[in-house]
């Protein structure tokens, strides 16, 4: 099913709302989890015989536990405000990828079993029994939602399809119909400590390699420590940062910033993963269990602060949920935000440096080292619509841009309506970053690719920066489908890393060349 041939959408200069094409993506659903993926998470090994009965029972339980689900299922008036807002609808034209229609897959069953009108007048209100056909639709289309919350911005009642798709995935997991990609990864986190299944020694090797690379490049001994007891700061970062491109260049950047700030920091082999796929599958229990590793690591290492690396949904779990799931954090230093984003950390230093003469600045930048780039910024959906940075609402838009502008001379934004709270998902979020959903990922990236193409044409943009491991991995993979270079996508702290002049580093011509080579 995943190998079906498909065409990459053609980009248009102006965003168009395409006509519906019924069933256009019905053929696509991700690989189903096997028993070895299901059981470590406490889910049944395979679809239960009495799945229908149990699904309704679980739905009833979730309705009593989540106000969002109850209110959202009751409140939709089918006004259509969301119908042209989902990147998957815009890219695939399948009407079941319109947020309201996706919700209705669950809502029509809710109405049938839980409401007066649906019980006695099902046809009138569009209520249906939970049949195998409906379940197939659930599996297909609730795995065609990246939980990016764009629809919730435009809904007059704030209905968030992410909440609905999380609930649907939770129900499916509990009747034994899980998604392989997410559940396998969560299993790895429990067993090894991170999504990629990198064991402690492998991490140590990688970090040593990074130290050597940075030393070779700059002549400065920047440390990338792991499991250091008594460190001040625990850095929790997505495991892709340890080796994937351009992620690792971001990690190098975090290390340089910590080094210059004189902060004693450490990674943890226990919490060697910022990502928390428990959110994608809507499982409070799994999300909590994954979060508790961070608490345990912080306690064991005796740190005072927790800083998160560049990762979108991880920042949502960290910023919005960590206090709930793994708090209270009374043992950490209360003078700093708990947890703090690496962009907040860097931004604060830049702000403190503002009025100081160059020699006294904590972070010294040579912005011209990024002059070979014209950069734009992709607001990651979870950061944009589910979190904040800094003290003021909207800080999540200002702070990363200010960091970029502090290290780059050439920065432009993509057009209104495709950034900030209205940003388009990269197409790979929400547990969909798997090869078996490649068609969806390519088509779902269309709106972002359109906006990007426009600034390439108009302003000669060469690179797009992001602060999310999933965005970076997704763009690396799908940019070539649209005829763009996979290395266009860069980490924000990669830009910081390029421009930073470390204390003791000789700023000779060699370095400038190196910096250029890196960026090319």
């Amino acid at each position: 099913m995943a190998k079906a041939e498909f065409e990459t959408p053609t980009l248009s200069e102006y965003p168009e709302v395409p006509p519906i094409e019924i069933g256009a993506m019905k053929h696509l659903s991700p690989f189903v989890a096997k028993d070895i993926h299901q059981e470590p998470l406490g889910f049944p090994a395979e679809l239960k015989d009495n799945w229908q009965e149990e699904a309704i029972e679980h739905m009833g339980e979730l309705l009593g536990k989540y106000r969002s689900l109850q209110v959202f299922l009751d409140s939709c008036v089918k006004c259509g405000a969301c119908t042209d807002k989902c990147h998957y609808y815009l890219g695939t034209q399948d009407p079941k990828n319109m947020p309201v229609a996706r919700q209705d897959l669950l809502r029509k069953v809710y109405r049938r079993y839980f409401t007066f009108a649906g019980k006695y007048f099902p046809k009138l209100v569009g209520a249906t029994d939970l049949t195998k056909e409906v379940l197939d639709d659930w599996y297909s289309y609730f795995h065609q939602c990246s939980q990016c919350r764009r629809c919730s911005v435009f809904c007059p009642y704030g209905i968030d399809t992410a909440e609905i798709s999380m609930a649907a995935r939770e129900i499916m997991d509990r009747i034994g119909l899980g998604q392989k990609y997410c559940n396998e990864i969560i299993g790895k986190v429990f067993k090894i400590g991170n999504n990629l299944g990198l064991p402690g020694p492998a991490l140590e090797d990688t970090l040593e390699g990074l130290e050597e690379d940075v030393f070779d490049e700059t002549g400065v001994e920047v440390k990338y420590p792991i499991d250091v007891k008594g460190a001040d700061v625990l850095l929790v970062t997505p495991s892709a940062d340890f080796f994937a491109e351009p992620h690792v260049d971001g990690l190098i950047g975090y290390g340089k910033v910590f080094h210059e700030a004189g902060v004693n920091w450490t990674l943890s082999s226990k919490a060697s993963e910022a990502a928390n796929f428990g959110m994608f599958i809507g499982s409070y229990e799994n999300m909590r269990k994954i979060s508790m590793r961070i608490r345990e690591a912080a306690l064991e290492l005796g740190v005072n602060r927790i800083v998160f690396g560049e990762c979108g949904h991880a920042w949502r779990v960290a910023y919005s949920f960590l206090n709930t799931l793994a708090g209270p954090w009374d043992f950490l230093d209360q003078r700093y935000p708990i947890p703090q984003h690496i962009c907040e950390f860097t931004y604060d230093l830049i702000q403190e440096d503002k009025d100081k003469p160059y020699e006294q600045k904590t972070l010294k930048f040579n912005k011209s080292l990024n002059d070979d780039m014209t950069v734009t910024f992709h607001d990651s959906c979870n950061v944009a619509r589910a979190t904040r940075m800094g003290n003021m609402p909207g800080g999540q838009f200002v702070i990363p841009r200010e960091v970029i502008k502090a290290v780059c001379n050439n920065y432009v934004d993509m057009e209104n309506g495709t950034t900030h709270e209205k940003t388009f998902c990269c197409g790979g979020g929400g547990g969909l970053l798997t090869d078996d959903l490649m068609e969806l990922r390519v088509k779902g990236a269309k709106p972002r690719m359109e906006a990007l193409s426009n600034v390439i044409e108009e302003y000669g943009v060469t690179n797009m920066a992001a602060i999310c491991a999933i965005c970076k991995a997704q763009f690396t993979k799908i940019l070539p489908y649209y005829g763009l270079g996979m290395d266009m996508i860069v980490s924000v702290h990669q830009l910081v890393s390029n421009a930073i002049i470390l204390t003791g580093q000789q700023a000779d011509e060699d370095e400038e060349e190196t910096a250029e080579d890196d960026a090319a």
């Binding site: 009593g64 989540y66 209905i159």
Partner: protein, 247 residues
């Protein structure tokens, strides 16, 4: 008392009970269902006062809908605001308060025409539902019927004002008696067809309110993406069922 009068008395008692009890139960359910996680759609206000302002803008100006689609916003907002204005004018049928009567008299020269704005808004929404392929796809029969019901109420009501005047004094007297449970001197309802249709449809609307999508009215106030304060780092948010996991 005429049969019609008795039937409508029964209808409005039943409809009122169903509306009040149905809504109260649903609101109680929204109220007692926990919101275990902080999920405001950000950027979100960081204070309670900010949340009140956000909700105010949402309820009074339909802020999010405005961001989404201007046509739906225009027709939707027109319909809702005209409806409230028309409802305000209807207060005169239910009260003897001089202040309210004076207020109604004061606004009437303008508000009386808002029935047309309401009808135009509803027709716009109906047209959109029928003409836009995406909206047509998501529409169930009940979605059309709801608009037709509201149109029926609006048009029949406008008829009683602009085409075939009804005996409003008798109507008012009927409802005042109904409210006072005074059946001895209750007058008969006027029998003109527009009035009868109008009252019948209003009774129907009251009955289906708590079991239909009209629940969006209380729902919006309980929507966690709109009513939560953005302060998860500052204040620990924990629901009762989540607390049990910690024990």
């Amino acid at each position: 008392m005429s049969f019609l009068t008795i039937a409508f008395a029964a209808l409005f008692y039943a409809a009122t009970i169903l509306l009040v009890v149905g809504l109260a139960r649903r609101i109680h359910m929204f109220w007692k269902t926990p919101a275990p996680l902080k999920i405001p759609t950000t950027p979100a206000p960081t204070t309670q006062g900010g949340v009140v302002m956000r909700m105010f803008r949402e309820v009074v100006f339909f802020e999010s809908l405005f961001k989404s689609t201007k046509w739906t916003w225009l027709f939707g907002w027109l319909f809702h605001m005209a409806l409230f204005a028309v409802l305000f004018r209807h207060l005169r049928y239910f009260t003897e308060s001089e202040i309210i009567m004076a207020a109604v008299t004061f606004v009437s020269p303008l508000f009386v025409y808002l029935a047309f704005a309401m009808i135009i808004g509803l027709l716009g929404l109906l047209a959109r539902r029928m003409l836009v392929d995406r909206v047509r796809y998501i529409s169930a029969p009940s979605d059309y019927l709801m608009l037709l019901l509201l149109l029926g109420i609006g048009i029949s009501g406008a008829m009683t004002t602009f085409v075939a005047h009804t005996d409003v004094v008798a109507v008012k007297s009927f409802f005042r008696h109904l409210m006072m449970f005074n059946f001895d001197t209750m007058p008969n309802l006027p029998t003109d067809p527009f009035m009868v249709v109008h009252l019948l449809l209003v009774g129907l609307l009251m009955i289906i309110f708590p079991i239909s999508k009209l629940l969006h009215a209380p729902g919006v106030f309980f929507s966690p993406t709109r009513n939560q304060i953005d302060n998860p780092r500052e204040q620990r948010h924990l629901s009762d069922w989540a607390r049990k996991l910690e024990e």
